[in-house]
C-alpha cells in the first residue's frame, strides 16, 4: 500500500543546475499538488493539477515547472536552481476537490533539496 511516493529523498544541487522531482500515487486520485516547506512558514503551494494533462499555478510558482502526462505521476522541475529554492518539497494527492467535499490530502515523505 504505497500511497504517494516521492523520489529522490535527498538532493544537493549547485546554483544553475536543473533537476526533476518525481511524485507517483497509486490511489487513482484526480488532484495532485506540490508544496514547499520552510521553517516558520508552513506549507506553501507551488503548482497543482486537477487531472491528467492539466496544471495550474499556486502561491509560489516562480522558478518551477510541472507536468502531469499520466494521471498517477506529477513532476516538478527546476530549470536553473537558486539557493532560495533550498527547501523540503512535498507532493500530495486528493480524490476530490478540497473545499466542496472536504477531501484530505495524502502526502509523500518529501524531498530535501539543498542548493549551494
Amino acid at each position: 500500500n504505497a500511497g504517494v511516493t516521492q523520489t529522490p529523498k535527498f538532493r544537493v544541487l549547485k546554483t544553475g543546475q536543473s533537476m526533476t522531482l518525481l511524485c507517483a500515487q497509486d490511489m487513482n486520485h484526480e488532484y495532485m499538488y506540490w508544496y514547499r516547506q520552510d521553517p516558520g512558514m508552513g506549507l506553501r503551494l507551488i503548482h497543482y493539477s486537477v487531472g491528467e494533462g492539466t496544471t495550474a499555478k499556486g502561491e509560489v510558482p516562480d522558478g518551477y515547472n510541472v507536468s502531469r502526462l499520466k494521471k498517477q505521476n506529477f513532476l516538478l522541475g527546476l530549470e536553473s536552481a537558486a539557493p532560495s529554492q533550498t527547501s523540503v518539497y512535498f507532493c500530495a494527492s486528493s480524490s476530490r476537490d478540497l473545499a466542496t467535499y472536504n477531501s484530505p490530502l495524502h502526502f509523500g515523505n518529501g524531498t530535501r533539496l539543498t542548493v549551494t
Binding site: Y35, G42, L43, A99
Partner: protein
C-alpha cells in the same frame, strides 16, 4: 491571500500536562483540517471540522472550529511523548477545481517524560 497564524510556534511540556494550540485567520474557510507531521515524514490528517462551532474529539485531542469559521483550536489533555510532532492547521477555500488548502505556520510540540 488567505493567511493562517498558529500559536504558539513552539511548545515544550512534560507528560501529563494539558495544552491548547490556536489557529487564527481574518478569512472565512469552508472547512478546516488539522494534520500532524513527524520528522522525515509528510503530514497526516487528524481531523476535518466543517460547521461553525463544531467540536470533534479524537481520544485525548479536542478540535473546535470557530463560530465564524475563521479560527480553530486543538486541545490535548494529558499529553504523552507520542504526541510529539509538528501540528498544522489548513483551511479550505475556493470552489470546485480551484479550491485549495492554505496551511498555517505550524506548532512544534515536544512532550518529555
Amino acid at each position: 491571500t488567505q493567511l493562517l497564524e498558529q500559536s504558539p510556534q513552539f511548545l515544550s511540556i512534560q507528560e501529563g500536562e494539558n495544552l491548547t494550540v490556536y489557529c487564527n485567520s481574518s478569512s472565512v474557510f469552508s472547512s478546516l483540517q488539522w494534520y500532524r507531521q513527524e520528522p522525515g515524514e509528510g503530514p497526516v490528517l487528524l481531523v476535518t471540522v466543517v460547521t461553525g462551532g463544531e467540536v470533534k474529539k479524537l481520544k485525548r485531542l479536542t478540535f473546535q472550529f470557530g463560530d465564524a469559521r475563521k479560527d480553530s483550536s486543538l486541545h490535548i489533555t494529558a499529553a504523552q511523548p507520542g504526541d510529539t510532532g509538528l501540528y498544522l492547521c489548513a483551511g479550505a477555500h475556493g470552489t470546485g477545481t480551484a479550491s485549495k488548502l492554505t496551511f498555517g505556520t505550524g506548532t512544534r510540540l515536544q512532550v518529555t517524560l
